[in-house]
């Protein structure tokens, strides 16, 4: 195990997604990076658990869950995040894609949390002018650490592949780890239930990430392929925006980038990262503005 990595324990001693199991099964071997360290994930025919060899020497513990390979570079100090929806039999559990993005993973998490970009970056799908207003919503901290944003409402012309008309969609966002966020979104056919989207962001380095997207969608009339295609189309609209953010790391000093009321969740996220002394992928408070 690499010693003296310099990465804070909250990230070093936690689990991170590094590969899709379907992709690993197809290729047999995937070379990737996590927190700046090169590693190779290999599938041994006799085991369902892949082995993870570090280029710097040694091995790291691995697990398979939700269709992904999870790795911990340090000593695991907690379990992989729990998603009860994934046990529902009437949902598609879809690995919707793994997207490499040349920006800090913290920027990718923040973008996912952001409602006011929907009418512009995802115009015609997740928002459209003139429905640009972000009504006030609630932000709180989660009991186990993290941020929750509730009462989020936003007008969406085509909120999912089965939506046929625009409507105000109810969102709940939860940031459960610095690099993990999930969204519960009212289902267009049965608004009493919600579809779930989770992003497991793999910090490749401080300024590069891979966004792994997990969907738990009610089956409705949907095919798995349609869910996947919709998610990929949406993320491909985000990628060029993310890759044009300067600086690439997320500034935690509130004076570095001016927030407005609609950014209450993003401001809380940055504050929570600061209070937890998360530095990897961030520009800490004390490093100027």
């Amino acid at each position: 195990m690499p010693e003296g990595s310099g990465v804070e324990s909250a990230l070093w001693d936690d689990w991170h997604v590094v590969a899709e199991i379907a992709e690993l099964t197809r290729l047999g071997r995937i070379a990737t990076q996590l927190l700046g360290f090169s590693l190779v994930v290999e599938l041994d025919n006799r085991s369902v658990i892949p082995s993870v060899d570090l280029e710097s020497g040694g091995v790291a513990p691995a697990k398979v869950k939700y269709g992904y390979v999870w790795v911990c570079l340090g000593t695991p100090n907690r379990d992989i995040v729990d998603f009860p929806e994934c046990a529902d039999r009437d949902r598609w559990i879809v690995n919707a894609g793994s997207f490499g993005v040349a920006v800090s993973g913290l920027r990718a998490v923040e973008n996912f949390l952001d409602m006011s970009h929907l009418a512009f970056v995802h115009a015609g799908y997740l928002g459209e002018e003139p429905h640009t207003e972000v009504p006030k919503y609630k932000v709180a901290t989660l009991p186990d650490g993290g941020i929750v944003a509730t009462d989020c409402k936003f007008y969406q012309p085509l909120a999912s592949p089965v939506a046929t008309e625009g409507f105000d969609v109810d969102y709940v966002y939860r940031i459960v780890r610095p690099y993990t966020i999930m969204l519960h979104k009212a289902n267009p056919i049965d608004p009493s239930r919600s579809d779930m989207i989770a992003l497991f962001v793999q910090p490749v380095s401080e300024e590069r990430c891979v966004v792994h997207m997990l969907l738990a969608y009610l089956k409705d009339e949907l095919t798995e392929a349609a869910v996947r295609q919709f998610a990929q189309m949406i993320f491909n609209q985000d990628k060029p925006i993310l890759e044009n953010q300067l600086p690439k790391r997320l500034p935690l000093n509130p004076r570095a980038e001016v927030p407005i009321r609609a950014d209450a969740a993003s401001a809380a996220y940055r504050r929570w990262l600061h209070e937890g002394d998360i530095r990897y992928g961030a520009i800490p408070h004390d490093l100027g503005v």
Partner: protein
């Protein structure tokens, strides 16, 4: 004062005027700082730090509406000339706070080039003065070498000398005959753009061949400088 500290107070050409066309936004870089250049419909050219004050997205991917620049990420509007944010779509009924404005750089049009100045108090009267009755701008040439090396090499090996008393960033050919003027844009510590002009008007019929000849000569010098820098 170091060269870098001094350079930040100087004016540099960063683009030919004709490249900054209406309803467009152009990205450039000077002394390691990215800038977004855009011309409003009345002709005024803005040079702004190339990031939206809100979430840092490059303004050069934004939309030039003719009077405002609109950020691609959240649709915020920034007014020409002042850089003041005039509209935040997430809160359409509220006037944006006065403090939300882009960081503006000094900007001037002179000798067919857009000049910018990164200093806090840019003085438009300090744009270098060249003794020119007329001029024709040439094609700009990108060079993978630091500005000091480019200037030194042009002076020592290619018969150029400083054209003004303000340092080695503007050079002209030595000796008799029609002069060529080269204007250096230090993009960052490793890259330089060589802009050029000749001090006469070129007839339209001759324009392409003059541009090609000039471009050929500067490209040869560039190749020699890059070999020396490697």
């Amino acid at each position: 004062m170091s060269d870098a500290e001094e350079a930040i107070r100087l004016w540099f050409p960063v683009s030919r005027c004709e490249e900054i066309v209406p309803r467009n936004v152009v990205q450039t870089e000077l002394l390691g700082q990215e800038a977004a250049l855009w011309r409003d419909d009345l002709g005024f050219v803005n040079a702004w730090e190339n990031r939206c004050p809100h979430r840092g997205v490059r303004l050069s991917i934004g939309l030039n509406t003719g009077s405002e620049l609109r950020c691609q990420y959240h649709g915020w509007w920034y007014a020409s000339i002042t850089g003041q944010c005039t509209y935040i779509p997430a809160h359409p009924g509220q006037k944006p706070p006065n403090v939300i404005k882009t960081k503006r750089y000094g900007c001037a049009e002179q000798y067919g080039f857009i000049w910018i100045n990164l200093g806090d108090q840019p003085d438009a009267a300090a744009v270098p003065v060249l003794q020119l009755d007329s001029y024709t701008t040439m094609r700009s040439v990108f060079t993978q070498a630091p500005v000091d090396l480019v200037a030194q090499s042009l002076i020592e090996a290619h018969n150029f000398e400083p054209a003004t008393s303000a340092g080695n960033y503007i050079l002209e050919t030595t000796g008799p005959g029609e002069k060529s003027v080269l204007l250096l844009q230090p993009m960052n510590a490793e890259q330089t753009v060589i802009h050029g002009l000749i001090p006469s008007l070129v007839r339209d019929a001759d324009r392409l061949s003059v541009l090609r000849q000039f471009n050929g000569r500067v490209s040869e010098m560039r190749d020699a400088i890059e070999r020396a820098a490697a």
